[in-house]
Amino acid sequence: MKLTLRVWRQKNADAEGAMSTYEVDGISSDMSFLEMLDVLNEQLILAGEEPVAFDHDCREGICGACSLVINGDAHGPERTTTCQLHMRSFEDGDTIDIEPWRAAAFPVIKDLVVDRSAFDRIIQAGGYVTAPTGSAPEAHATPVPKADADFAFEHAECIGCGACVAACPNGAAMLFTSAKVNHLNVLPQGAPERETRVLDMVAQMDAEGFGGCTLTGECATACPKGIPLVSITNMNKEWLRATRKAGKR
C-alpha cells in the first residue's frame, strides 16, 4: 500500500516542532507500524535527511518503550502497543498523523521521543517492597489467596509506556500510579508499607506536574495492558485510608 504520513518533527527539546509530510510506498499489510516507519527512515537516510526519531526496543509489546499517538489515539486504533499494531489496520491511500505523547511531565526530546523519567521517580517514591537481598523468608511461609494474587498480577502487568498520560485530557498519571499501588498493596508482602507507599507515590505524582483525574476513562481505554479504570478508585480508597491512619498517629 501507499500511505501519506504526517509526522511531528522537532529538532530537540528547545526547538519548535511542526508536522512534516512524507509519502511511503510498498507497505505490506503484514508489517508492524514500526516496520513501516523503518521503511520511511531508510528512505530518509538515503535522501540525505535525518530519520524520524522514535523510541522502541523489544517490539513484542512488553518493554513499554514505543509511544506514538497515531491519528489522535495513543498506540493507534487497536488496543495494543504501537509495535504490535499492524498495517492491516490501515487502508491503501490513508493519511496517518503521528505525534509524540503530549504532557507537561513528558517533555519532547526529539521528534517522537519523550522523556518519561517522571514515571521512574514515582516508583522511586514508594513503588517497591523493602526486602533487601538475603532477608527473605521461605516463599511458602505466607500463602496468598489466589484472588489477591490474580488481582496483584493484573495490575503488575503495567508496562509503564505512558499511554494513559498521553490519552488523558488532563495529562494525569493516576492509572500508572494506581497500577503499582494496587499491585503491592493487596499482597501481604506489601502490607507494612501500605500507607506510606500510596501517600508518597501520589505526592510524587503531583510534584511531577501531572494533572488530576476527572475520571474520563480515556486512560483505561488507551491502556495496552487493560488496566481497568476501577484501579484508580481503589487507589483513592487506599489513599483515604492512609490519610486517616496518618491523621490518627
Binding site: 488532563n170 483525574c213 475520571l215 481497568p228 483513592n236 489513599w239 490519610t243
Partner: protein
Amino acid sequence: MARTMWDSTVGKKTVMAVSGLIMLLYLVAHMIGNLKIYFGAGEFNHYAHWLRTVGEPFMHYEWTLWLIRVVLIVAVVAHATSAYQLSRRDIKARPSKYVHSRPRASYATRTMRWGGIILGLFLVWHLLDLSTGTVHSGGFQEGHPYQNVVDTFSTWYGDVIYIVAMLALGLHIRHGFWSAAQTLGVGSRARDRALKTIANVLALLLTAGFIAVPVGVMTGVVS
C-alpha cells in the same frame, strides 16, 4: 491531615466529592420543598416560614437556616475553589494539544467544567432574584415566596435561565455523583452499574423536579 488533603490532587478531589454530596443532599430537600408550590400559596409560604422557625425553641429564629446556609456556603466555596485549582493544574499538565484531535469522550470533563461555571453564575442570579430580590422582576415581596416564584417564571428569560441551569445540573450530577463515588473509593466493578443507575435516577429526578416549577407557572397550573 487537612494539609495532606488540600495539597494533593486526590485530596482536593475528595473535598469536591464531599462538598458535592452535601450540596446534592441539600438539593434533594430543596426540590421536595419546591414541589409544595403545587399545593397553593398557603402551604408554600407556610413551608418557607417554617424553614425559619425550625428547631425552636432550642434554636432562635432563623438560626437553623443560617446554619444550613453557612454549611452550604462553605461547601460551595470549597467545591468551586478545588475545581478551579484542579482545572488550572489540568490545563497546565497538558500544554500542547494534539494536531490530530478526535472527538473525545472528554465530554464529561467539559460538561463538568462548563456546567460548573453555568451553575455558579445561576446561583448568583438565583440568590439575587429570590433571596434578596435585587434583580427580581416585578415587586419582590419579603415573606411571599409563592408570588415571587410566579413572578420570576412569568418572564421568558427567567424560564430560560432556570431550565438551562437545571439541565446543566442534571448533567453535572450524572457524572459528579458517580465520580464522587470513585474518588471516595466506594466504586467497584460489581457496584459500577448500580452507581451509574443511581446517578442517572438522581439526575433525572432532580432535573424533572426542579423544572416542574417553571413548567407549572408557564402552563398556568401555578399562578
